[in-house]
Symmetry: C2
Subunit: 419 residues, 2 copies
């Protein structure tokens, strides 16, 4: 067993995964809160906070944070998602004490200087501009907003130009005080780790973290719907989706298999039918994204103004047929792809640290690889047929950006999918 | 020593890099030819060929290629660059024979069926559309075209809508016959490899590869210049560049250090001055790209319509000052970043296979990590000052896309950089 877990008196969990033959360590702090924990008026606060964590502490200026980690060749980075915020470092093994000291410092002793705060607001507005200029990225923000209208779950992680422009410094301090609590945080490390050392370092660096549990986000209510934006682009960026499953749903692995069969590789149905046989796209794939309390399942395609008219009916047909005509080898191939992908990811310190943190936050404990592989192996044709049925349980979500004149009306797409 | 190299009678080199404690293998065929080996009229042929290699052989249909590799959970992929085309697989270690058999099959026995060829043309036109919709990507195509005007070196890897629409099948067969020769190809593998086994498999699968050396590309002549495209975007995507150095230039590592000091991380000068102090960008970085016979050095920034007016003078000042005011710790930090980055990449089978192939094609042999680290360590302040001087040897290249009204004239930028 390479994984060890220790819970500190504050409730902060420290999980490590020892790998032989590597010289690096990936270590991060994973917080069980993100954009879906934000009130509407301060949408973007979780992400803004993530930026401000790098802008100076009682002991370190922003420049010192950057210089200290890069002086040892380490990387320090962070991201904000809908349900999670992560701060992590990748370093050579001797530099673990520095990395954990910095992580504790930026998460517990940041000063959130007002002048730095105002400057960082401009940086985030540029980041929003960059996301807006990346259609195959921003189309997913519109997808999420359409699937979960009027809910925190549907709001963009970056916030909007309006909310970020208006965000006051106290909102950020408040959000951190409310959500960055020991029982809702995990320190996870993988690579050339010594569990005892990391526990001791974490106990020292995170001594001041609040011990009370944080409030939970309200439940997401998938609704579905239609979003279209005419934009002067070469391609139509299209996402068609459905309600999916949570991380802990018994059908979680079956949904992953379903996504793989439908659009998970070169041999998948959508790739073969829409790219190989018809040449209508360069990129097409299916995804199954899970949250604490639900998920979304869908297909992305980037296609042309003319091509979309042929594509949409075929895409709908493939979604409708997915559970019914399982060919010999198709199920086995999808499971082999997911199995190998998991085994390959186990050779990366960063993938393992993140995977372990995710298990701790989502499942409340470590799930051995053998167990995950067994659950995956247990997915049979009946399970695939069952989850394909579940796709038809809700109103679809359709999002299209680009030269969308030829995209047929929402009702017509709904009709095709109900056939 | 983990690296072993064998040259087959045809001149085909087989290089392997054994890693302990891993269960996967990355194996690829790397061809020393890409877009810069193309006549203007058939620009895009190298990339089109790379696509067609997946469209069926004498023994396998396109679908069989996809299904066979994915049935064992493997990935098969390829890319085309200006000087190189690569076809590679990542598999679990027991599946090496299958991967090498498929690689040999698609590279030596593809049929290039005319119907498949016509369909694939549509896929590539969609790919061109997708690239066009990604401004922080396509701006580099314009940068390259402006740095090397009217030359193969400056043409886009994907080709253009015009050249791809007109490309005949025979051009592709011809390009392959001219450039896919044993002395200009390397099979490289890293991970859980057995060198003897891979040599034997490669000898069998690549028995039919032509043994004569392929013609070389004509020399690139950096010219520099100005390119602007007004486009309805949130950001201006800006690249400012200079002539750089080849892979084999004695100053190659010094240029990498220079790029790292200027814009290689959070502690770099551009990040600190332009993002941290002024909040003018979200993304800014410097790059040093090398070719067989030269290179380009430059800076990318994504900024706003108003912000660009403050950004450009500061960017030029930083480029001008780069060699002169080296602060204590700055040089050591850049070297530590490059050193750690190399050591970290050595934990990935795919990075190691690609790195080894690159060394074989560019340097004609393997360079031990210790030697690379020693060359990097030897870069001193004098070397950094020397290469900073070399930046001033040619006309700059400026490329800007987006709401570019506020970008000052080219001559003014040239003036600032000559100050």
């Amino acid at each position: 067993m390479t994984v060890e877990i220790t819970t500190l008196p504050s409730g902060l969990r420290v999980a490590t995964d020892r790998m032989d033959g590597v010289a690096t360590v990936s270590v991060g702090v994973y917080v069980d809160a993100g954009a879906r924990n934000e009130p509407a008026a301060i949408n973007g606060v979780a992400h803004f906070l993530e930026h401000m964590a790098f802008k100076g502490t009682e002991r370190r200026t922003a420049r010192a944070i950057a210089e200290e980690i890069e002086a040892v060749g380490g990387h320090l980075n962070a991201y904000t998602a809908r349900e999670q915020t992560a701060y992590y470092a990748k370093i050579l093994k001797g530099d673990v004490p520095l990395a954990i000291d910095i992580l504790g410092d930026i998460l517990l002793h940041s000063t959130f200087d007002q002048a730095e705060f105002d400057r960082e607001r401009s940086v985030i507005l540029q980041e929003i501009g960059q996301a807006e200029d990346t259609p195959d990225d921003i189309v997913f923000d519109h997808f999420q907003a359409t699937a979960y209208p009027g809910q925190a779950m549907g709001r963009p992680v970056l916030g909007t130009v309006e909310t970020v422009s208006a965000l006051p410094r106290w909102a950020l301090v408040d959000y951190m005080g409310t959500h960055y609590h020991a029982p809702d945080m995990v320190i996870s490390a993988a690579g050339a780790v010594d569990h005892r050392q990391i526990v001791d370092l974490a106990a020292a660096a995170f001594a001041d973290v609040p011990a009370a549990p944080a409030p939970k986000a309200e439940a997401g209510r998938y609704a579905g719907g239609d979003f279209r934006e005419e934009r002067d682009l070469e391609q139509i960026h299209l996402v068609v989706g459905f309600p999916g499953v949570s991380h802990t749903d018994p059908d979680h692995h079956a949904f992953q298999v379903l996504a793989t069969i439908l659009g998970g590789g070169m041999s998948s149905r959508l790739f073969q039918e829409i790219r190989e046989k018809r040449g209508l796209v360069y990129s097409i794939y299916a995804f199954s994204s899970s949250f604490h309390d639900g998920g979304v399942f869908g297909v992305y395609a980037g296609t042309g103004e003319r091509e979309v008219q042929e594509l949409l009916p075929v895409l709908c047909d493939e979604v409708l047929a997915i559970g019914s005509r399982l060919e010999p080898g198709e199920l086995a191939r999808a499971k082999a792809q997911l199995r190998a992908s998991l085994l390959m990811s186990r050779e990366s310190t960063s993938a393992r640290a993140e995977h372990l943190a995710h298990q701790m936050l989502v499942h409340g404990g470590h799930i051995p690889t053998e167990e995950t592989l067994a659950r995956l192996e247990a997915v049979d044709a009946a399970a695939v047929a069952r989850v394909a049925q579940r796709l038809h349980g809700g109103r679809p979500t359709v999002t299209a950006m680009g030269p969308i004149g030829g995209v047929e009306p929402f009702d017509r797409i709904v009709g095709r999918l109900a056939a």
